[in-house]
């Protein structure tokens, strides 16, 4: 029997845990959130991704109860949460600065929320012990926050926000303060913990790699609007706009005029150059301005002219050597620069191309995505 894939957003019978209904937030003249509709499902690991100032943190703070929408409604399990103050919401938040109470020990920090619920002493003991075990902090229970390292503080913050077993956990740039190596390890730890506890996670981040790694779905935001909400692979392979394509990973963008026949589009992009072909499910009117987005790793580079569609000649302008990969910047006679990426399966001494070599770049019809904006 095939395992059921986790995709509640495709299931029409599923009711969302959180629903944003036409939510806007204005600070004076500034619109931080602009008429957002969004549904997040139970057990999801949902990422809000965007540059700083795009409204992702405001959106999260509205879920926590620290901001109220200027208009629109937010539902949590079908209940409008606007009148519920932050201390009565079944939502907990892990703060970017961790916000650990400096005068309390690790143990007391984790127990803080449980004590507010007025639970029995042995119940609190058991729950804190469980959290310490989950985050591997047993040895540090009696220490104060300033007596442990940054990575440990991050885990205390996580344990504290998970202790009350919230319906929804909000994570505000949770890994921002960690160095790269620790960040990558912690990403997998977060995913494990999310799976073990079955809690719904909403993470805010500006790091696209982090969002792609951890999330079941990613919402790309810009200037208070949702640009695209989809699974990481859809976001990468089928971006909704040039903005999304450009924000996630590296991309070649070629502007042109569309000539559509069925599911194929021919794009006129430069005087005297053959049109570029791509497959699409969208509809373009004749001569409509469109953009071809091609990922560098889908562009082949060769010394001999290959057969097939979308073949262009050029000259190697630059080579970025990244160890496992090399990115070749190929300058076309039209002035466009196309990035082509190749895995370095051979030792560097035997690299096939060097600066100013004449080369051919090519890609298949299905490699490029045609975008209308």
């Amino acid at each position: 029997m095939p395992q059921k894939i986790f995709a509640p957003w495709d299931d029409p019978d599923e009711t969302p845990l959180i629903r944003f209904q036409n939510v806007s937030k204005r600070f004076g003249d500034f619109t931080a959130i602009d008429a957002i509709d969004l549904e997040i499902y139970a057990r999801e690991f949902f990422a809000l991704l965007g540059p700083s100032g795009c409204g992702k943190t405001t959106l999260m703070r509205m879920l926590a109860g620290f901001e109220t929408p200027s208009s629109g409604k937010i539902f949590l399990s079908g209940q409008d949460i606007a009148p519920v103050p932050p201390n009565q919401r079944a939502v907990n938040m892990m703060f970017q600065s961790y916000a650990l109470f400096p005068h309390l020990s690790v143990w007391d920090n984790i127990a803080f929320g449980l004590r507010r619920e007025g639970r029995a002493r042995d119940e609190i003991d058991a729950r804190v012990g469980e959290m310490l075990k989950l985050t591997r902090l047993e040895k540090f229970a009696r220490r104060k926050p300033h007596q442990i390292s940054g990575g440990q503080r991050q885990r205390v913050a996580l344990a504290r926000s998970l202790a009350k077993a919230p319906k929804l956990l909000l994570l505000d740039e949770p890994l921002g303060a960690l160095d790269k190596k620790l960040r990558e390890e912690t990403q997998f730890e977060l995913m494990d913990i999310q799976e073990t506890t079955g809690t719904t996670f909403v993470i805010v981040t500006h790091d696209q790699e982090e969002a792609m790694t951890v999330a079941s779905r990613v919402a790309v935001m810009d200037e208070g609007r949702l640009i695209q909400v989809a699974t990481p692979d859809r976001i990468y392979e089928a971006p909704a706009s040039v903005y999304v394509a450009d924000f996630i990973g590296d991309v070649n963008i070629i502007e042109g005029k569309a000539h559509q026949t069925g599911d194929r589009v021919q794009v006129d992009w430069a005087e005297g150059q053959p049109a570029l072909a791509a497959k699409t499910t969208r509809d373009f009117s004749l001569e409509q301005t469109c953009y071809l987005a091609i990922r560098p790793e889908k562009v082949a580079i060769s010394a001999e002219k290959p057969s097939g569609a979308n073949v262009l000649s050029g000259e190697v302008l630059d080579i970025a050597y990244l160890g496992n990969l090399s990115t070749y910047h190929v300058k076309l006679p039209t002035g466009h620069v196309i990035k082509a990426q190749q895995a370095n399966t051979r030792r560097i001494a035997r690299r096939p191309f060097t600066w100013e070599d004449k080369v051919w770049v090519s890609w298949t019809e299905s490699a490029a995505v045609v975008l209308d904006r």
Binding site: G65, F101, H103, F112, G113, H146, I148, S149
Partner: protein, 271 residues
């Protein structure tokens, strides 16, 4: 630039002499055998003995202490509340007026403050005594407390309070369990500041005191008008000693704490 040039040595000496020479002379003459303050007649501690037997001075000291304790406690509570509201509440009607008014007594001349309070107490027909001095001292001391506490609140990471709320604490629990313990050093220094201000105030106390409630500064001032006695030198020396010990202890304790914290942070990062 760390070298002590002759110029630096001279200016340092002059500066410190200007500040401390009068006090040093006062301390030395408190151990003078002679009744004349300007003539040295050998070492003696007899004026300290005289002081302990002088009931008027002891009564005044008791009143002063009582006033200072009540004032500093009351001013700390009110000043902390005022600072919290001013820093935490961003917009409410009359905020600018309120924040301006809370600092006004800082720049108001003591004479005006004392006189206006005296007129108020007379108008309200309040009997003057310890209570009126406490009220008057609280009026200006709470402004100092609120300045000290608000400087700490400004530097306070707001997300700590949000985290407490997020974990289910009510706003009052948040203040009691998170905000107050963290701003405690500022609240304590505010209390000490109010205590000292009340302890050495002469002008406002003179306006608002009644016949049965003479404070120590008032007593000293009136005694000096009849001539400086070595007894007053002895009393002043005791006060200097108390203040010096207090200040040195406080700075040693806070410095030790800072050093220990730094060491623990370094150890945590290495581990």
């Amino acid at each position: 630039m760390n070298r002590l040039s002759p110029f630096n040595v001279v200016s340092l000496t002059l500066g410190f002499a200007f500040l401390y020479l009068p006090m040093v002379i006062l301390v030395i003459y408190s151990f003078n055998e002679s009744k004349l303050v300007t003539v040295w007649a050998g070492f003696s501690t007899k004026w300290y003995g005289e002081l302990v037997r002088n009931e008027a001075f002891l009564d005044a000291a008791l009143v002063t202490l009582q006033v200072a304790l009540l004032t500093s406690t009351l001013a700390t509570i009110l000043g902390t509340c005022a600072a919290y509201v001013l820093i935490r509440m961003h917009r409410f009607p009359g905020r600018t007026l309120f924040s301006g008014m809370i600092y006004a007594p800082l720049v108001m001349p003591d004479v005006i403050l004392g006189l206006s309070l005296l007129l108020l107490f007379i108008g309200l027909n309040v009997d003057r005594g310890v209570l009126t001095i406490v009220l008057a001292h609280t009026t200006f001391a709470m402004c100092y407390v609120s300045v000290v506490v608000s400087s700490r609140l400004v530097a306070f990471d707001r997300s700590l309070e949000e985290a407490a709320l997020d974990l289910g604490a009510t706003p009052f629990q948040t203040f009691r369990l998170v905000t107050l313990p963290i701003i405690a050093p500022a609240v304590i220094s505010g209390w000490l500041l109010a205590f000292t201000l009340s302890l050495d105030d002469l002008v406002i106390a003179s306006f608002t005191a009644g016949p049965s409630s003479t404070t120590l500064p008032m007593k000293i001032f009136s005694a000096v008008r009849l001539g400086v006695s070595p007894e007053i030198n002895a009393l002043s020396t005791i006060m200097i000693a108390i203040v010096t010990v207090g200040v040195i202890t406080a700075s040693l304790v806070s410095k030790r704490a800072a050093v220990r914290r730094l060491r623990e942070e370094k150890a945590a990062e290495r581990a």
